[in-house]
Amino acid sequence: MSPAVTTHNDLDDKIRGRTKYVADLHLPGELVGGILRSPHPHARILSIDTRRARAIPGVHAVITAADVPHPPFGPTQYKDWNILARDRVRFIGDEVAAVAAESAEAAAQAIAAIEVVYHPLPAVFDPEEALAAGLAGAAGSGAAARVATRAAAAAGGRATDGSGAWAGEPVVIHDETPDNRPMHIHIERGDVDAAFAKAAIVRGGRYTTNRIYQGHLEPIGVIATWDEAEGLTLITPSHIPYRARETYAAAFGLPEEKVRIQVPPIGGSFGAKYVHKAHLIAAALARAAGRPVRIVFDRYEDMLTAHPRVPLTIDIRIAADETGRFLGKDVTVWGDAGARVYWSPNVLATACSRPDSLYHFGAVRAEGHLMYTNHSPTTCMRGFGNAEMLFAVESVIDEIAEGLGLDPAEVRLRNIVHRGETTVHGYRLDSCELEACVKRVMELSGWSRRKDLPKYRGLGMALGNHVSGYRGIDPRFEGSTAVARLRADGVVEVETGEIDLGQGMSSTYARIAARVLEIDPARVLVKSGDTGRYPFGIGTLASRSTVMGGNAIRLAAERLRDALANFVAEALGPGARFAGGVARVPGPDGRAAPGAPEAGEGGSPAPGVAETFGKVYDLAELARLYRARHAGDALEVRASYTPQTDFPGKDFYGNPSPAYPFAAHVAEVEVDPETGRARVIGYWAVHDAGVVLNRVAATGQVVGGVAQGIGWALMEDLRTHRGAVQNLTLLDYRMPGVADVPPVTVEFVEVPDPHGPFGAKSVGEVAIDPAPAAVANAIAHALGVRGHALPLTAESLWRLQRDARRDGGGA
């Protein structure tokens, strides 16, 4: 008889306040860390005096650049990071010095007592100006000077947000990158110029996307311990801990095995918490103080340094023939990396290419400039460049439809990708129900009423695609490894290197393993989040957890099932069989017991049953039998999943993911003509996520993504002036509250993908991809004029209407 099993239910713990996040954890002897940050967007550090800070009671360590190593390192191939700034600060918030003290008060006092003398330097904040500012320094190059003049003129001739403080002097932010452009990419397929030459219609313009704060409710935090023998241990909610470990090991010159990251439950990230300077600084402080050091941000410091979504400036043109079939697409994208590279290169590359595998554009060309500026660095957030570019693409598609007098849905249906196709960049679409998604979202939203809506009401459509893991993340490999183990109490323990960040990964993995083993998911315990204990994994990004980790879990569960079958035959006799989560031994008449009682529920079968049909062993009994026959060991297997994908080379061609999810969204808005305020009053999302394994979680991903997309389109923007963010509180940076999100209808078109576990694909990021564009298209439909710059706030929409009235002579 098996003991009752307590279900591991992380939702119930979260609901009851039992879940311990990093801020809820404490180590004995821990100190409080604090960081001194640059008040200047760009300055030389002339001197730092820490003597007064060191003398404050309770202060155990004060560190500056002189106390930390300075190897070239960083989370991407651009090795421009430091632990603390040496000689120069490059943005407001740049880390200059740090302290560890007995209390937060002592730490704050010590920070205030550090004296730094700065010599301010010219700074640049606009990506195009940054190129000109870099080229302005390249003396003697006639070509460079001409480009610089042209760029400066272009930048000067444009209406900016008032932060353009650059006066035309040379500014080089990193000496190794004299043009301030760490990445410059070109992607071109087909004859773009010929396509535009034969077009019946060309639409386009300049679209800009905003600086979005990830907005995780749990502030960034870390507890670091440094031990000469064990190395560095960080307790921090990173969802890509093995990659973070690699970066931190390089920073301190340690082997990776001497850096351990333990991941407590993650209170939201959306891209912000994977790798962070606070982790490095806590580590350096712990080493200097010889005690554990905790750094937990308040909201102000979190908003100052969480590193927002990469703002993009997109110049786009799309050409189509008179039937609305696309002939060519041409984009130039400027990305503001800020003063240091986090994950902006990957975001820019995604923006330059991903929508080309959603529609057949014909010939495509993209030029991407990733620019250093004196802004706080920018990085990844859910949607990862694709949602940004889709805002531009989907806006232009609506303009083409309008120009040709066609239904925007019809134009989309004429150009979308289908199952069995290989897209222009080599994506192989082995499953794709996009057309069914579009048709279903038209039905659900009542798309046919679009033409009859009253003024100031609008319906907008946008589509989206994404990946389920992306081969380009790590040049060395893609895939995932899982361990499955039968515990003595009959629980199946599954270990993975992927990380749950609240999206329901663990519960989905439990369902996958349970389905293979034909047991209750409550009897599967999923464990992850410790680089010192669990299998190596790339982590949770690029919407990879369901397909990558899920396939590894499925393979490991299959191996465990086969190993159990072998063990049952070996231990219980040749007629014994493992199926349905139990082993059945044939009775004297050779027949197996027809039905077994639920494990742990009724105990052994009734004596009469056993006599007639033979004995039934549940998993706990099998586990104990295994242990007895294997010197106390547990039955354990491991399996790796490696997808058949291509590493995108210099030409960005290849099939980078095993499975591509798709979505069709429709938003309905109402705009108040007096104030300009737009409200989303209806929203419909139909997704192709393959077979849905966890309906509650998948639906929650879609609705959550839509809500973030609504905030992105209408409300959110970290406003900067000369490099300083102006709205570093949640009252000034408004995220959607319950009243801002309308009822969202979600449906799935479920056709199995041949590569996903049980036919599943990803859903986390494709959920947000179409959302800003759908809202923007609905607003353009409601007003008859189009906003090109996110967010479409009340003020911007009021101005749009006023300008349209002025230009059009009244409306």
């Binding site: 239910n9 992380d10 939702l11 119930d12 713990d13 979260k14 609901i15 009851r16 306040g17 039992r18 879940t19 311990k20 996040y21 801020a23 809820d24 907005g215 995780h216 409710l217 749990e218 502030p219 439950p265 993650i266 209170g267 939201g268 990230s269 959306f270 308040d298 909201r299 960040l501 609240g502 999206q503 329901g504 509650v696 979680a697 639906t699 929650g700 609705v703 959550g704 993504g705 839509v706 809500a707 973030q708 509180t729 949640l730 009252l731 995220m735 959607p736 509250g737 319950v738 009243a739 999100v741 009822p743 969202v744």
Partner: protein
């Protein structure tokens, strides 16, 4: 440093601290009641919501000296409350939590609202959430959980009310699985 007496979750607690310490810090650091979360420290996110004499308040803003005479209830202290338990089951079933960081604050806020049906029209309990931010769920699953609980409460009133008629009773009782207390309302999963 002052010695203060606080009534927390029905127990008298003595704490020694600066009287201006935010209540949230006393709960979390002094009493290890870490179910009360801190998201902003400026009263803007709602993660630190606790009940003060039954009313939801932001414990990150309240100096502890100001709450000595009040009954304080944290999320931990609401366990067992029939409305909290009904909501907890519904939130679990609907997926009302994802990362979970805002969830205790939302549970506290909504439990207080459900205790005061006279303040909220049916279907308008979500108005109570005006001071609670959630970045993950888009609120739909939380709305569904509220709807499940209020539907359960309404049928309960029909069955338990003094003026019940026999037809409503049998239907309602069946739907509730013969519930004898709010906490035992069966929430369909």
């Amino acid at each position: 440093m002052n010695n203060l007496s606080l009534s927390i979750n029905g127990q008298l607690q003595r704490v020694a601290c600066d009287p201006l310490t935010p209540l949230a810090d006393v709960l979390r650091d002094g009493l290890r009641l870490t179910g009360t979360k801190i998201g902003c420290r400026t009263g803007e996110c709602g993660a630190c919501t606790v009940l003060l004499d039954g009313e939801p308040v932001l414990s990150c803003l309240l100096p502890v000296a100001a709450v000595q005479d009040a009954k304080i209830q944290t999320v931990e202290g609401l366990a067992g409350d029939p409305r909290f338990e009904a909501l907890a089951s519904a939130m679990d079933a609907c997926g009302g939590a994802q990362c979970g960081y805002c969830t205790p604050g939302i549970m506290v806020t909504l439990t207080a609202a459900l205790r005061q049906p006279d303040r909220f029209a049916p279907g308008e309990y979500e108005a109570a959430l005006k001071n609670n931010l959630c970045r993950c769920t888009g609120y739909r699953a939380i709305r569904e959980a509220i709807a499940q609980v209020t539907a359960g409460l309404q049928s309960q009133e029909m069955t338990a009310g003094p003026a019940r008629n026999s037809t409503a009773t049998s239907e309602g009782a069946e739907a509730l699985g013969q519930a004898d207390a709010l906490g035992k309302v069966a929430i369909p999963r």
